[in-house]
């Protein structure tokens, strides 16, 4: 009943092409934006803003990037974390060596560097497909991480290999509290998510999906294979690079190679699968799930410890996490391959009638 579309007619194609054609969706979306931009920073607890909501958005952005490449364009990649690392390290270096650029241009340039790396490691996709390509992206993951650690230039020859990210200052205004970093992250992520949505519903998105579904047919009807695949890698890596820069500057506060390991690449792939392959909303849902779930597990184990008096070790929790994540992946692939995004759609459809049975 809540979600009845009756009476909402679209009389122009423009209306039909909107991101949110249904009025209830639009209202909910704007309410969410107001909540995120205005309410949360004012009311939100520092810990939640800095340690949960900010990383959630950053990972959502990286998930978006991977979703563009794997979900929409069908090119399986296991090198996501490496692109984030490039973004993080290059952002640090731009701010360090060209401070007159400013933070936002530095982030953008860092993203472009990640895009360049993405194009180089995307070249094999013109010859190789499927999981051959996935293994090839592992080459990217391992090589990039090695290079960033091996060549001291990236860390400005720091002896520990870890550097502190600089303070963020835009037009003289310092972003030094969790709330301010949260808002900066939110703004960047919101804008890039909008851009992604626009891209995916335009010709670029269709070209990506065509390459994913049947690339031979796509090239026969005129879609350029090389340009499309490389563009997918470039855009995806750009998103991951910016996410990496945000990760270093707005979340960790340091730029360290260990943070961008193969494990992170898998985690982001899990976010894509659980959230929904080929869905912008799904990227956010998947990231939320994987970011919040460990916290949830910690809480539950804390309660159980209190209740039973038995100490539950960190090792146990992290193993349980592995098992449950892996299990969920398999579960989602079997039961709902289109992930949480599809479940959300089904829920909305049920809301059309609820509380009436039929």
């Amino acid at each position: 009943m809540l979600y009845r579309e009756a009476g909402q007619f679209k009389s122009t194609y423009a209306q039909d092409q909107q991101i949110f054609p249904i009025r209830q969706d639009r209202i909910a979306f704007w309410a969410l934006l107001v909540f995120a931009f205005v309410v949360l920073p004012l009311v939100g607890d520092q810990y939640w803003l800095g340690a949960i909501l900010t990383p959630f958005q950053i990972f959502a952005l990286a998930t978006l990037g991977l979703n563009i490449l794997t979900g929409y364009a069908g090119q399986l990649s296991l090198g996501t974390a490496a692109f984030m690392a490039v973004g993080a390290f290059m952002a640090y270096n731009f701010v360090l060596r060209m401070p007159w650029l400013g933070i936002i241009p530095s982030f953008i340039l860092a993203g472009l560097c990640a895009a360049a790396v993405g194009i180089v490691f995307g070249l094999p996709s013109l010859r190789i497909k499927g999981f051959y390509l996935a293994v090839a992206t592992l080459a990217c993951q391992f090589f990039v991480l090695w290079a960033l650690q091996r060549f001291g230039w990236f860390t400005n020859y720091s002896s520990s290999g870890v550097v502190t990210a600089q303070q963020i200052e835009i037009l003289g205004y310092a972003f030094n509290t969790p709330a301010k970093k949260y808002l900066l992250t939110l703004s960047v992520v919101a804008l890039m998510a909008l851009a992604a949505k626009n891209l995916m519903r335009s010709e670029t998105g269709r070209a990506f999906m065509a390459v994913r579904d049947m690339d031979v047919a796509a090239s026969v009807i005129g879609i350029p294979m090389m340009k499309t695949k490389l563009l997918a890698f470039a855009i995806s890596s750009f998103y991951c690079g910016v996410a990496g820069a945000l990760h270093a500057f707005c979340y960790l506060g340091t730029v360290e190679p260990e943070a961008y390991s193969l494990d992170l690449s898998f985690r982001i792939l899990f976010m894509v699968i659980i959230g929904g392959v080929g869905s912008i909303l799904g990227s956010f849902l998947g990231a939320a799930f994987i970011t919040l779930f460990p916290i949830f597990l910690n809480l539950v184990s804390g309660w159980m410890s209190h209740a039973t008096g038995v100490e539950i070790s960190h090792a146990l929790i992290s193993n349980l996490e592995s098992i449950i994540f892996g299990g969920l992946i398999v579960f989602f692939l079997i039961v709902e391959p289109q992930g949480l995004a599809r479940l959300w759609q089904i829920a909305k459809e049920k809301l059309r009638l609820w509380p009436f049975p039929h």
């Binding site: 092409q17 891209l199 010709e203 065509a210 579904d213 009807i221 005129g222 080929g278």
Partner: protein
């Protein structure tokens, strides 16, 4: 039969030979296709009909022979090039993008006409938005023509076979082609679906003046809608002429009946 005036030669295939490993798919085949006509290619299974379309389309490259299209001569075609020159086609085993909706599939047919780059699309500003809507309008005309309005937002993978074939025709039409290559467009259809498809094909030829080359097994359809027919057997052309001429040709009858030669 089309009521349009058939024009000059639009496409000419000269002495084309195509070999795969040891298999001679086509042997010195020559024929032409005139503007505005409906040309059928028929022949027993394995005669090389699909291979012929693939050569015209640039998917296969012949070892020998030439192709003349719109006055220009080509040693072989490149599929991107042919698409740009206004050739569109459908495939024997339906090459639709199963993960996309009908509307999106048809829109991909217009990809060569889209000019905006990805940055403009990301920002969804003026030119990108206008272009998208303009092409949407063009595609909706095709949707109206093919009577598939009710399924425009359905993912193609969920559609029944007959409708998928129609959507594939729609994608080819969306490209506003000069030459339309149809590979067994009526295969697997029941009588009603075939009649609909025939009607669409004839109307495309009539209304838009599109030249059509089609591969077809149903003799009734071939007799009804084509202007001229080419018959292939074991990669060679064995007859070329009007439907009546071909129907009476003894070599053709022998080929279909499997008489040894």
């Amino acid at each position: 039969m089309s009521s349009r005036q058939v024009g000059g030669v639009m496409l000419a295939v000269e002495n084309v030979s195509l070999t795969f490993g040891g298999v001679k798919a086509l042997q010195e085949v020559s024929f032409d296709v005139r503007e505005n006509e409906v040309r059928a290619i028929i022949g027993p299974n394995g005669a090389g009909k699909s291979s012929m379309l693939n050569v015209i389309n640039g998917v296969y490259h012949p070892q020998q022979g030439k192709i003349r299209f719109q006055g220009r001569e080509f040693r072989d075609m490149d599929s991107h090039q042919t698409a740009e020159m206004g050739v569109a086609r459908t495939f024997q085993n339906i090459a639709l993008f199963k993960g996309m909706t009908v509307l999106d599939n048809l829109m991909t047919g217009r990809n060569l006409k889209m000019r905006c780059n990805f940055l403009q699309q990301a920002l969804w500003i003026g030119p990108a938005k206008r272009e998208e809507l303009e092409h949407r309008r063009a595609v909706e005309e095709v949707i109206d023509f093919l009577e598939i309005q009710h399924i425009r937002k359905t993912p193609v993978g969920k559609l029944p076979y007959g409708l998928q074939k129609r959507v594939e025709l729609g994608r080819a039409l969306a490209a506003e082609p000069k030459l339309l290559l149809l590979d067994e467009p009526m295969a697997g259809m029941n009588l009603e679906e075939k009649q609909d498809m025939c009607r669409f094909v004839l109307e495309v030829n009539d209304h838009y003046g599109t030249t059509i080359v089609l591969i077809e097994h149903d003799m009734g359809v071939v007799m009804d809608i084509s202007d001229r027919v080419v018959v292939l057997d074991y990669g060679r052309k064995i007859a070329d002429g009007s439907p009546e001429e071909v129907r009476g040709n003894q070599t053709v009858i022998d080929a279909y009946l499997g008489v040894a030669h």
